[in-house]
Amino acid sequence: MENLVTIRPELLGLATVELEALSPHFAVLGGAVLALVLSVVRWLQPKWSVFLVSVATALLGATLSFPGLSGAALAVFNGMMVVDPYSSFFNLIFLLSALITLLISFRYLDSEKLQHPEYYVLVLFSALGMMLMASARELVVLFIALETMSLSVYSLVSFRRADRRANEAAMKYFILGGAASAIMLYGVALVYGATGTTHIQAILERLASRGAGESVLFSVGAWLIVAGFLFKVASVPFHMWMPDVYEGAPVPITGFMTTGLKAAAFAAFVRVFLSLGYGKGLSEAVETNLHHILWVCAVMTMVVGNVIALTQTNLKRILAYSSIAHTGYLMVGLIAAPRGTEGYSSLLVYLAAYAAMNLGAFIVLTLLAGKGDAGLNLHDLSGISKKNPVLAFSMAVFLFSMAGVPPTAGFVAKYLLFYSAVQAGEVPLVIIAVLCSAISVYYYLRVLVYMYMRDPIAGATSARVPVWSVMALASMVIVTLQVGLLPSPLVEMARKAVAGL
């Protein structure tokens, strides 16, 4: 009991250098709180004020996290969190996707009569949760960040209160999400039991010293944590919730989930994965078992994702299953990363490219969505190229990018990912991945068939495209093509980010 007495003052104080490093987090927190306050002030027209503040916060956060990209890694809050190029890279992804979601949501909420300011606050809080997850170095802190993000997303999913489908989606997501978090937490507890610490760095040392890698307790705990993450990224055994939730949720939120949520999950997954010693500390037996399980999960994810997408006619569900398929490709990268010379940088590039093309696709979907997200079935899309050529062209770019057809970011990302997988000797896995992406070409192009090669249905009016959305759309198209044609800046950024891990 005696060590409780001395309260060490330095724990509480925050050095100025730590403040600077954490500036993006504080900016977003401050912005969110300000937005919350403003939402209550009636006379200030909360619809506009909260929107503008949240957009400003997102922009501010993004600009503040730029320096972090090249800075050195700095442990904050006594090692609980770390601010390094890796976390700054992900901060950029989260904040940009939050920004895009906010931009396209404004008009969407008006047309859906859901213009409540809380929406923007929740988006900011979930972005904050993601940022914390990316820089968490301690399992419990990670859990807390995960929950902040998830809780705000649960409520965002059920934002359209009156719609039974939204409620159903939210409830399913909440219950299964809750269960998964509980499972992961139980894993954390077991790992704590086996190694005596929940601090990521410390686990590795304890593993090496205590040789706890062998103990059943640790492996069960480790697997439960990994299972929790697999649920979050919707890998096969745990993917059942995703299509329903994606279909139920409002379109911008689905976009936000596929990009932000998946990126955050993978960010944390990579840190935890390393700490659990995959590739370094773990014993030979456990390593091969984990590799086999992940190998099977990756293959099943790719196959299930691509094959079911073939049968879907609702665009949101198609993109949901395509997101599962892309998780499969990312898992291939994950498995191959430790042994491949490329390491995790191809994973980061893929996440960034995937975020860009997916956000773009969801911008187009938001603009095309009718009342209550109707009008998103394939035959509703026929002839769009005649009505709105710009939307059709950008959708074509995004779809070609998702299919991995060359002059786009998707191709470069897939090239790097599979290239590092081949270097790690995972040739059979890559062949399966390549064949699955061949299947994916079919359902991506089928959307183009409806858009370009069918005549428009009678009376279809061309969707009105507000200025905010055009800006967001243009930026995404430019990013997709730019990374496709000149990938080296992004790749260099990713390599620097990974170096610090």
Binding site: V405, P406, P407, V422, I431, S437, A438, Y452, R495
Partner: protein, 513 residues
């Protein structure tokens, strides 16, 4: 101007795309201006390609007018362009056909002309890029980028079930090239392991020695991956079923470019990548591909005989003609290799002309069924004369371009395996059978169908499209040396790279040639 001079290849490749993007400014309803604008662009590109012909000197280095720029240094990927004798002529063929195709589709394409001409020029960029890319990654980017415009051309302006044909075309090629991509990964990594540095430049990859040996050794598997991707494109016998659908459903311009240039990408791929990278596997699989080539020739000819639709007939004739190319390449001697490169050029000219003419009668009668025609010579004599000349070139009559190609290929193949040459030779007979039978049912005989009576003969524009092709047919038939001079050294290097000492020098000492 100096920049253009030093970056000739880049200008050639990206001029069509930039010109097309500039063309987007013209508002949709000025249909004629789009066409004229695209035509202007394609003439400009043709001029640049002629400049290339001047700049290329046969005796010089292997890859000339090379340009290099860092693209993805961490993976050793560079923006590397270069050109040799073989790719020179394929370039000129592409830039020669595109203006004709654009001129040919003035009247054929009435709606959404802006996108149409944009896609055509984008397609030209893709093709030119693939022909000059010397970096495997860059080649793959252009190789797949070509598919997008062709997919839309077939899909939007095509015939009745164009969507099925476009999708089949796209998927067939994508599956093939994705397997090739895996092989590229393995090769690039092998280069890193063996030679220390990352590089996907084709010249460096030539130096990588991949463990050869048995039928399923690493080198054989890699070779098969490359060969499958290129065989689908050629198309070689078992993987050819996308071609008839794609041709029948594609608009005239689409099928001319498809037959004229896209099929040559397969052959070019073999020459540039599959052969030099995996010489032992080539020698090992030589009998298999010789067999497939001969079968393709006879099979294509036989199936062409029973086609009710002219375009499908010509499509299957392409399968047969391209079978000759494969035969020539896999005979691994310089006569046959030169013959197959020449056959690629011939096929581009004669089959391109055939498709243009089928397009012209389709514009008039909106049907392609042979049974709907008969006695057209009486109604359209000029058309009949040109159609006769093109048919003769297609059945390889001496004096036209077809003969030189097939003669050299058969002569070369005879040295390697007489049986394959004999079997392929029968293709020459069946070629005459199906072409002349089609010609007779369409052109000769009394005018049975009343609608055929009032068909108007070729207009000035249509003549302008066909005239250069007819001239090319005779010029290539009578004076092929014009082409062989520039091509000769590159073919020698190609064969040396395929590590097969050409055997015919031994025979030449025997007697005066």
């Amino acid at each position: 101007m100096a920049w253009f001079e030093s970056h000739l290849l880049s200008t050639l490749v990206f001029l069509p795309l930039l010109w097309a993007v500039a063309g987007l400014v013209i508002p949709g309803k000025f249909r004629k201006t789009h066409a004229v604008w695209a035509l202007l662009g394609s003439f400009l590109v043709f001029a640049v390609s002629l400049r290339l012909y001047g700049a290329f000197d046969a005796g010089g280095a292997e890859f000339q007018l090379a340009e290099r720029a860092e693209w993805l240094p961490s993976l050793g990927i560079a923006y590397l362009l270069g050109m040799d004798g073989i790719s020179l002529w394929l370039l000129v063929l592409t830039t020669f056909l595109t203006p004709l195709v654009i001129l040919g589709s003035f009247s054929a394409i009435q709606e959404r002309t802006k996108e149409y001409y944009f896609l055509l020029l984008f397609l030209e960029t893709g093709m030119l890029g693939a022909l000059v890319a010397l970096d495997v990654f860059l080649f793959y980017v252009f190789w797949e980028a070509m598919l997008i415009p062709m997919y839309f051309l077939i899909g939007i302006w095509g015939g009745k079930d164009r969507v099925y044909a476009a999708m089949k075309f796209f998927l067939y090629t994508v599956v093939g090239s994705l397997l090739m991509l895996v092989a590229i990964f393995y090769l690039a990594y092998a280069h890193k392991v063996q030679l220390g540095a990352y590089s996907t430049a084709i010249v460096d990859l030539y130096r990588v020695n991949v463990p050869g040996g048995g039928w399923l050794s690493v080198q054989s598997i890699l070779f098969l991956a490359f060969a499958l991707a290129f065989a689908i494109k050629v198309p070689l016998f078992p993987v050819h079923t996308w071609l008839p659908d794609a041709h029948v459903q594609a608009p005239t311009a689409g099928s001319v470019i498809l037959a004229g240039v896209l099929l040559k990408m397969g052959g070019y791929g073999f020459i540039r990548f599959a052969f030099p990278l995996f010489p032992e596997a080539v020698v090992l699989y030589q009998p298999v591909f010789l067999g497939l080539g001969a079968v393709a020739i006879v099979y294509g000819a036989w199936v062409a005989m029973v086609q009710p639709d002219i375009k499908k007939l010509v499509a299957y004739s392409s399968v047969s003609h391209m079978g000759f190319v494969i035969l020539g390449l896999f005979s691994l001697n310089s006569i046959a290799a030169a013959g197959s490169v020449y056959q690629m050029l011939n096929h581009g000219v004669s089959t391109g002309a055939l498709f243009l003419m089928v397009g012209m009668i389709y514009e008039r009668r909106h049907t392609r069924m042979i049974s709907d025609f008969g006695g057209i010579t009486k109604v359209m004599p000029i058309f009949a004369i040109i159609f006769m000349i093109v048919t003769l070139s297609s059945i390889a009559l001496p004096g036209t371009n077809g003969f030189v190609g097939e003669f050299l290929i058969l002569l070369g193949t005879w040295k390697t395996s007489p049986w394959a040459a004999a079997a392929a030779g029968t293709g020459v007979i069946f070629g005459a059978v199906y072409m002349l039978w089609m010609f007779q049912r369409v052109m000769f005989g009394p005018v049975t169908n009343p609608e055929n009576e009032k068909l108007r003969d070729l207009s000035g524009r249509e003549l302008a499209v066909l005239a250069p092709l007819v001239v090319a047919i005779f010029f290539m038939g009578i004076y092929p040396n014009f082409f062989f001079e520039k091509m000769e050294p590159s073919i020698q290097r190609f064969l040396e790279r395929a590590q097969v000492k050409s055997t015919e020098t031994a025979i030449a000492d025997l007697g005066r040639n």
